[in-house]
Symmetry: C2
DNA sequence: GGCATTATGACTGTATGCTGTCAAATCGAC
DNA sequence: GTCGATTTGACAGCATACAGTCATAATGCC
Protein backbone atom coordinates (compact mmCIF):
# COMPACT_ATOMS: atom_id res chain seq x y z
CA UNK A 1 0.00 0.00 0.00
CA UNK A 2 2.72 2.56 0.84
CA UNK A 3 4.62 2.00 -2.40
CA UNK A 4 1.67 2.57 -4.71
CA UNK A 5 0.68 6.18 -5.41
CA UNK A 6 -2.05 6.94 -2.87
CA UNK A 7 -4.50 9.15 -4.74
CA UNK A 8 -6.31 9.96 -1.48
CA UNK A 9 -3.27 11.64 0.06
CA UNK A 10 -2.48 13.87 -2.92
CA UNK A 11 -2.86 17.59 -2.07
CA UNK A 12 -5.08 18.11 -5.10
CA UNK A 13 -7.27 15.17 -4.04
CA UNK A 14 -7.69 16.62 -0.58
CA UNK A 15 -8.58 19.99 -2.07
CA UNK A 16 -11.16 18.43 -4.39
CA UNK A 17 -12.73 16.49 -1.50
CA UNK A 18 -12.95 19.61 0.63
CA UNK A 19 -14.48 21.56 -2.25
CA UNK A 20 -17.21 18.92 -2.60
CA UNK A 21 -17.88 18.91 1.13
CA UNK A 22 -17.82 22.68 1.59
CA UNK A 23 -20.03 23.08 -1.47
CA UNK A 24 -22.64 20.90 0.21
CA UNK A 25 -22.25 22.68 3.54
CA UNK A 26 -22.60 26.11 1.92
CA UNK A 27 -25.77 25.10 0.09
CA UNK A 28 -27.24 23.64 3.28
CA UNK A 29 -26.30 26.72 5.29
CA UNK A 30 -27.62 29.06 2.61
CA UNK A 31 -30.89 27.16 2.40
CA UNK A 32 -31.37 27.44 6.15
CA UNK A 33 -30.37 31.11 6.06
CA UNK A 34 -32.93 32.27 3.50
CA UNK A 35 -35.66 29.66 3.98
CA UNK A 36 -37.58 32.04 6.31
CA UNK A 37 -37.70 34.48 3.38
CA UNK A 38 -39.22 31.86 1.08
CA UNK A 39 -35.95 31.53 -0.83
CA UNK A 40 -33.41 28.78 -1.52
CA UNK A 41 -29.67 28.89 -2.11
CA UNK A 42 -30.15 28.64 -5.86
CA UNK A 43 -32.76 31.42 -5.98
CA UNK A 44 -30.63 33.61 -3.75
CA UNK A 45 -27.59 33.09 -5.98
CA UNK A 46 -29.57 34.00 -9.08
CA UNK A 47 -30.87 37.12 -7.35
CA UNK A 48 -27.28 37.98 -6.46
CA UNK A 49 -26.17 37.68 -10.07
CA UNK A 50 -29.09 39.88 -11.16
CA UNK A 51 -28.23 42.45 -8.50
CA UNK A 52 -24.57 42.42 -9.50
CA UNK A 53 -25.53 43.01 -13.13
CA UNK A 54 -27.71 45.97 -12.02
CA UNK A 55 -30.59 44.65 -14.11
CA UNK A 56 -28.73 45.01 -17.37
CA UNK A 57 -28.33 41.36 -18.38
CA UNK A 58 -30.58 38.77 -20.06
CA UNK A 59 -30.81 35.21 -18.78
CA UNK A 60 -27.94 33.94 -20.92
CA UNK A 61 -25.62 36.67 -19.65
CA UNK A 62 -26.50 35.96 -16.03
CA UNK A 63 -25.85 32.26 -16.59
CA UNK A 64 -22.41 33.07 -18.01
CA UNK A 65 -21.56 35.20 -14.99
CA UNK A 66 -22.59 32.36 -12.69
CA UNK A 67 -20.76 29.70 -14.67
CA UNK A 68 -23.96 27.74 -15.26
CA UNK A 69 -25.86 26.80 -18.41
CA UNK A 70 -28.74 28.97 -19.56
CA UNK A 71 -31.40 26.37 -18.90
CA UNK A 72 -30.66 26.08 -15.18
CA UNK A 73 -30.92 29.82 -14.66
CA UNK A 74 -33.96 30.19 -16.91
CA UNK A 75 -36.07 27.92 -14.73
CA UNK A 76 -35.20 29.80 -11.54
CA UNK A 77 -35.72 33.18 -13.19
CA UNK A 78 -39.15 32.11 -14.48
CA UNK A 79 -40.17 30.97 -11.00
CA UNK A 80 -38.94 34.15 -9.35
CA UNK A 81 -40.69 36.27 -11.99
CA UNK A 82 -43.93 34.38 -11.34
CA UNK A 83 -43.58 35.28 -7.66
CA UNK A 84 -42.98 38.96 -8.32
CA UNK A 85 -39.34 38.87 -7.20
CA UNK A 86 -37.87 39.42 -10.66
CA UNK A 87 -39.29 41.17 -13.72
CA UNK A 88 -38.39 41.33 -17.41
CA UNK A 89 -37.57 44.70 -18.97
CA UNK A 90 -37.33 45.42 -22.72
CA UNK A 91 -33.84 45.03 -24.17
CA UNK A 92 -33.00 47.80 -26.67
CA UNK A 93 -30.41 45.53 -28.27
CA UNK A 94 -32.47 42.33 -28.55
CA UNK A 95 -36.21 41.86 -28.99
CA UNK A 96 -36.44 38.37 -27.40
CA UNK A 97 -33.66 38.55 -24.79
CA UNK A 98 -35.44 40.60 -22.12
CA UNK A 99 -33.34 42.13 -19.33
CA UNK A 100 -33.81 40.54 -15.91
CA UNK A 101 -34.29 42.94 -13.00
CA UNK A 102 -35.17 42.79 -9.33
CA UNK A 103 -38.59 44.16 -8.40
CA UNK A 104 -38.96 46.32 -5.28
CA UNK A 105 -39.94 43.19 -3.38
CA UNK A 106 -36.94 41.40 -4.82
CA UNK A 107 -34.62 44.21 -3.76
CA UNK A 108 -35.98 44.07 -0.21
CA UNK A 109 -35.69 40.29 -0.03
CA UNK A 110 -32.14 40.34 -1.37
CA UNK A 111 -31.12 43.08 1.08
CA UNK A 112 -32.47 41.04 3.97
CA UNK A 113 -30.71 37.90 2.71
CA UNK A 114 -27.46 39.84 2.37
CA UNK A 115 -27.81 41.19 5.89
CA UNK A 116 -28.21 37.67 7.26
CA UNK A 117 -25.31 36.32 5.21
CA UNK A 118 -22.92 39.09 6.26
CA UNK A 119 -23.34 38.12 9.91
CA UNK A 120 -22.16 34.62 9.08
CA UNK A 121 -19.52 35.83 6.62
CA UNK A 122 -17.99 38.11 9.23
CA UNK A 123 -17.91 35.28 11.75
CA UNK A 124 -16.26 33.01 9.18
CA UNK A 125 -13.65 35.60 8.23
CA UNK A 126 -12.94 36.33 11.89
CA UNK A 127 -12.58 32.65 12.80
CA UNK A 128 -10.39 31.68 9.84
CA UNK A 129 -8.64 34.97 9.17
CA UNK A 130 -9.67 37.21 6.28
CA UNK A 131 -6.20 36.90 4.77
CA UNK A 132 -6.29 33.11 4.64
CA UNK A 133 -9.85 33.12 3.31
CA UNK A 134 -8.87 35.51 0.52
CA UNK A 135 -5.78 33.45 -0.34
CA UNK A 136 -7.83 30.25 -0.43
CA UNK A 137 -10.30 31.91 -2.80
CA UNK A 138 -7.44 32.88 -5.10
CA UNK A 139 -6.11 29.31 -5.14
CA UNK A 140 -9.57 27.98 -6.01
CA UNK A 141 -9.88 30.53 -8.80
CA UNK A 142 -6.50 29.54 -10.20
CA UNK A 143 -7.42 25.86 -9.95
CA UNK A 144 -10.62 26.46 -11.89
CA UNK A 145 -8.75 28.32 -14.62
CA UNK A 146 -6.22 25.51 -14.84
CA UNK A 147 -9.01 22.94 -15.20
CA UNK A 148 -10.75 25.03 -17.86
CA UNK A 149 -7.53 25.31 -19.85
CA UNK A 150 -6.85 21.60 -19.53
CA UNK A 151 -10.41 20.87 -20.64
CA UNK A 152 -10.02 23.24 -23.61
CA UNK A 153 -6.77 21.56 -24.69
CA UNK A 154 -8.45 18.17 -24.36
CA UNK A 155 -11.34 19.22 -26.60
CA UNK A 156 -8.99 20.79 -29.09
CA UNK A 157 -7.04 17.55 -29.35
CA UNK A 158 -10.29 15.68 -30.10
CA UNK B 1 -23.09 52.07 -3.23
CA UNK B 2 -19.70 52.51 -1.50
CA UNK B 3 -21.24 53.25 1.88
CA UNK B 4 -23.49 50.18 2.01
CA UNK B 5 -21.86 46.88 2.98
CA UNK B 6 -21.04 45.22 -0.35
CA UNK B 7 -21.72 41.56 0.23
CA UNK B 8 -20.05 40.66 -3.08
CA UNK B 9 -16.65 42.00 -2.01
CA UNK B 10 -16.57 40.16 1.33
CA UNK B 11 -13.73 37.62 1.47
CA UNK B 12 -16.13 34.90 2.61
CA UNK B 13 -18.46 35.71 -0.30
CA UNK B 14 -15.64 35.42 -2.78
CA UNK B 15 -14.61 32.11 -1.24
CA UNK B 16 -18.18 30.79 -1.44
CA UNK B 17 -18.47 31.85 -5.09
CA UNK B 18 -15.19 30.15 -5.97
CA UNK B 19 -16.26 26.99 -4.16
CA UNK B 20 -19.45 26.84 -6.22
CA UNK B 21 -17.55 27.43 -9.46
CA UNK B 22 -14.71 25.02 -8.71
CA UNK B 23 -17.21 22.40 -7.60
CA UNK B 24 -18.85 22.58 -11.00
CA UNK B 25 -15.51 22.56 -12.80
CA UNK B 26 -14.29 19.55 -10.83
CA UNK B 27 -17.44 17.56 -11.59
CA UNK B 28 -17.21 18.44 -15.28
CA UNK B 29 -13.50 17.54 -15.40
CA UNK B 30 -14.08 14.32 -13.49
CA UNK B 31 -16.93 13.32 -15.79
CA UNK B 32 -14.72 13.84 -18.83
CA UNK B 33 -11.87 12.00 -17.16
CA UNK B 34 -13.73 8.77 -16.39
CA UNK B 35 -16.39 8.83 -19.12
CA UNK B 36 -14.23 6.58 -21.36
CA UNK B 37 -14.38 4.00 -18.53
CA UNK B 38 -18.18 4.14 -18.42
CA UNK B 39 -18.10 6.03 -15.13
CA UNK B 40 -19.24 9.43 -13.87
CA UNK B 41 -17.87 11.73 -11.17
CA UNK B 42 -20.47 10.51 -8.68
CA UNK B 43 -19.83 6.83 -9.37
CA UNK B 44 -16.09 7.38 -9.18
CA UNK B 45 -16.42 9.18 -5.84
CA UNK B 46 -18.53 6.34 -4.42
CA UNK B 47 -15.96 3.82 -5.63
CA UNK B 48 -13.28 5.91 -3.95
CA UNK B 49 -15.14 5.83 -0.64
CA UNK B 50 -15.58 2.05 -0.93
CA UNK B 51 -11.89 1.64 -1.73
CA UNK B 52 -10.90 3.83 1.20
CA UNK B 53 -13.07 1.74 3.54
CA UNK B 54 -11.39 -1.42 2.20
CA UNK B 55 -14.79 -3.04 1.71
CA UNK B 56 -15.66 -2.97 5.38
CA UNK B 57 -18.55 -0.49 5.39
CA UNK B 58 -22.27 -0.72 4.59
CA UNK B 59 -24.01 1.94 2.49
CA UNK B 60 -24.85 4.15 5.46
CA UNK B 61 -21.24 4.20 6.63
CA UNK B 62 -19.96 5.09 3.19
CA UNK B 63 -22.48 7.92 2.97
CA UNK B 64 -21.27 9.27 6.31
CA UNK B 65 -17.66 9.23 5.11
CA UNK B 66 -18.66 11.12 1.98
CA UNK B 67 -20.80 13.66 3.82
CA UNK B 68 -23.90 12.64 1.86
CA UNK B 69 -27.21 11.10 2.89
CA UNK B 70 -27.72 7.36 2.65
CA UNK B 71 -30.27 7.58 -0.14
CA UNK B 72 -27.97 9.32 -2.61
CA UNK B 73 -25.23 6.73 -2.16
CA UNK B 74 -27.65 3.80 -2.15
CA UNK B 75 -28.85 4.54 -5.68
CA UNK B 76 -25.31 4.74 -7.07
CA UNK B 77 -24.23 1.61 -5.20
CA UNK B 78 -27.22 -0.34 -6.55
CA UNK B 79 -26.38 0.74 -10.10
CA UNK B 80 -22.70 -0.16 -9.72
CA UNK B 81 -23.62 -3.51 -8.19
CA UNK B 82 -25.94 -4.21 -11.13
CA UNK B 83 -23.00 -3.57 -13.46
CA UNK B 84 -20.65 -5.85 -11.58
CA UNK B 85 -18.43 -3.05 -10.29
CA UNK B 86 -19.46 -3.40 -6.65
CA UNK B 87 -20.73 -6.40 -4.70
CA UNK B 88 -22.40 -6.94 -1.33
CA UNK B 89 -20.72 -9.13 1.27
CA UNK B 90 -22.35 -10.52 4.43
CA UNK B 91 -21.93 -8.32 7.50
CA UNK B 92 -21.18 -10.35 10.65
CA UNK B 93 -22.49 -7.49 12.77
CA UNK B 94 -25.73 -6.74 10.91
CA UNK B 95 -27.98 -9.04 8.90
CA UNK B 96 -29.49 -6.38 6.60
CA UNK B 97 -26.58 -3.92 6.30
CA UNK B 98 -24.40 -5.79 3.80
CA UNK B 99 -20.80 -4.64 3.34
CA UNK B 100 -20.03 -2.90 0.04
CA UNK B 101 -16.89 -4.05 -1.77
CA UNK B 102 -15.20 -3.52 -5.12
CA UNK B 103 -15.23 -6.51 -7.46
CA UNK B 104 -12.11 -7.34 -9.44
CA UNK B 105 -13.50 -5.35 -12.32
CA UNK B 106 -14.25 -2.49 -9.94
CA UNK B 107 -10.69 -2.56 -8.59
CA UNK B 108 -9.29 -2.40 -12.11
CA UNK B 109 -11.61 0.45 -13.13
CA UNK B 110 -10.80 2.43 -10.02
CA UNK B 111 -7.06 1.92 -10.48
CA UNK B 112 -7.30 3.21 -14.04
CA UNK B 113 -9.40 6.21 -12.93
CA UNK B 114 -6.88 6.99 -10.20
CA UNK B 115 -4.05 6.81 -12.70
CA UNK B 116 -5.80 9.33 -14.96
CA UNK B 117 -6.63 11.63 -12.08
CA UNK B 118 -3.09 11.66 -10.69
CA UNK B 119 -1.77 13.05 -13.98
CA UNK B 120 -4.13 16.00 -13.63
CA UNK B 121 -3.60 16.30 -9.87
CA UNK B 122 0.17 16.48 -10.32
CA UNK B 123 -0.24 19.17 -12.98
CA UNK B 124 -2.54 21.13 -10.70
CA UNK B 125 -0.21 20.88 -7.72
CA UNK B 126 2.75 21.87 -9.86
CA UNK B 127 0.96 24.86 -11.36
CA UNK B 128 -0.47 26.21 -8.10
CA UNK B 129 2.14 24.96 -5.65
CA UNK B 130 1.49 21.94 -3.45
CA UNK B 131 1.92 24.09 -0.35
CA UNK B 132 -0.77 26.56 -1.36
CA UNK B 133 -3.12 23.78 -2.42
CA UNK B 134 -2.72 22.05 0.94
CA UNK B 135 -3.25 25.31 2.83
CA UNK B 136 -6.37 26.08 0.81
CA UNK B 137 -7.73 22.61 1.60
CA UNK B 138 -7.17 23.26 5.31
CA UNK B 139 -9.02 26.57 5.13
CA UNK B 140 -11.96 24.89 3.38
CA UNK B 141 -12.01 22.17 6.03
CA UNK B 142 -12.03 24.75 8.82
CA UNK B 143 -14.78 26.71 7.06
CA UNK B 144 -16.92 23.60 6.81
CA UNK B 145 -16.46 22.82 10.48
CA UNK B 146 -17.37 26.39 11.37
CA UNK B 147 -20.56 26.15 9.28
CA UNK B 148 -21.49 22.81 10.85
CA UNK B 149 -21.06 24.22 14.33
CA UNK B 150 -23.08 27.32 13.47
CA UNK B 151 -25.79 25.08 12.02
CA UNK B 152 -25.78 22.92 15.16
CA UNK B 153 -26.11 25.98 17.41
CA UNK B 154 -28.94 27.26 15.23
CA UNK B 155 -30.84 23.98 15.49
CA UNK B 156 -30.23 23.79 19.23
CA UNK B 157 -31.74 27.25 19.65
CA UNK B 158 -34.84 26.11 17.76
C1' DG C 1 -28.94 43.34 -49.48
C1' DG C 2 -28.39 38.26 -48.72
C1' DC C 3 -26.80 34.42 -46.28
C1' DA C 4 -24.12 31.64 -42.90
C1' DT C 5 -22.96 31.95 -38.08
C1' DT C 6 -23.94 32.94 -33.54
C1' DA C 7 -26.93 34.07 -29.53
C1' DT C 8 -31.09 33.42 -27.10
C1' DG C 9 -35.18 31.40 -25.26
C1' DA C 10 -38.07 27.25 -24.87
C1' DC C 11 -38.82 22.37 -24.35
C1' DT C 12 -37.51 17.56 -23.11
C1' DG C 13 -34.92 14.15 -20.83
C1' DT C 14 -31.38 12.62 -17.50
C1' DA C 15 -28.17 12.66 -13.38
C1' DT C 16 -27.38 13.84 -8.74
C1' DG C 17 -28.65 15.16 -4.27
C1' DC C 18 -32.07 16.14 -0.48
C1' DT C 19 -36.36 15.30 2.44
C1' DG C 20 -40.00 12.40 4.18
C1' DT C 21 -41.67 8.02 5.40
C1' DC C 22 -41.82 3.12 6.63
C1' DA C 23 -40.34 -1.56 8.18
C1' DA C 24 -36.68 -4.45 9.77
C1' DA C 25 -32.62 -5.01 12.56
C1' DT C 26 -29.61 -3.66 16.13
C1' DC C 27 -28.38 -1.42 20.43
C1' DG C 28 -28.92 0.31 25.08
C1' DA C 29 -31.17 1.41 29.43
C1' DC C 30 -33.62 -0.76 32.83
C1' DG D 1 -35.03 -10.38 29.00
C1' DT D 2 -37.92 -6.41 27.45
C1' DC D 3 -39.00 -2.27 25.40
C1' DG D 4 -37.86 2.23 23.47
C1' DA D 5 -34.30 4.55 20.66
C1' DT D 6 -31.19 4.29 16.93
C1' DT D 7 -29.50 2.46 12.65
C1' DT D 8 -30.20 0.70 8.18
C1' DG D 9 -32.28 -0.24 3.83
C1' DA D 10 -36.12 0.76 0.73
C1' DC D 11 -39.38 3.65 -1.69
C1' DA D 12 -41.50 8.07 -3.29
C1' DG D 13 -41.24 12.91 -4.29
C1' DC D 14 -38.80 17.22 -5.19
C1' DA D 15 -34.88 20.68 -6.36
C1' DT D 16 -30.99 21.69 -9.02
C1' DA D 17 -27.88 21.16 -12.83
C1' DC D 18 -26.51 19.20 -17.31
C1' DA D 19 -27.10 17.81 -22.42
C1' DG D 20 -29.69 17.80 -26.68
C1' DT D 21 -32.78 19.98 -29.82
C1' DC D 22 -35.52 23.50 -32.18
C1' DA D 23 -37.18 28.13 -33.65
C1' DT D 24 -36.33 32.94 -33.58
C1' DA D 25 -33.46 37.02 -33.39
C1' DA D 26 -29.15 39.32 -34.00
C1' DT D 27 -24.58 39.69 -36.08
C1' DG D 28 -20.95 39.50 -39.43
C1' DC D 29 -19.06 38.45 -43.87
C1' DC D 30 -19.44 38.87 -48.74
Amino acid sequence: MPENPDAFAHPASRLALEVFRLNGALIATGDALVAPLGLTSARWQVMGAVAEACGGQPVAGIARNMGLVRQSVQRIVDELAAEGILRFAPNPHHRRAKLVQLTERGEALFAEASRRWLVLADALAAALGAEDVARAAEVLCAAREHLHQAQAREEEAA
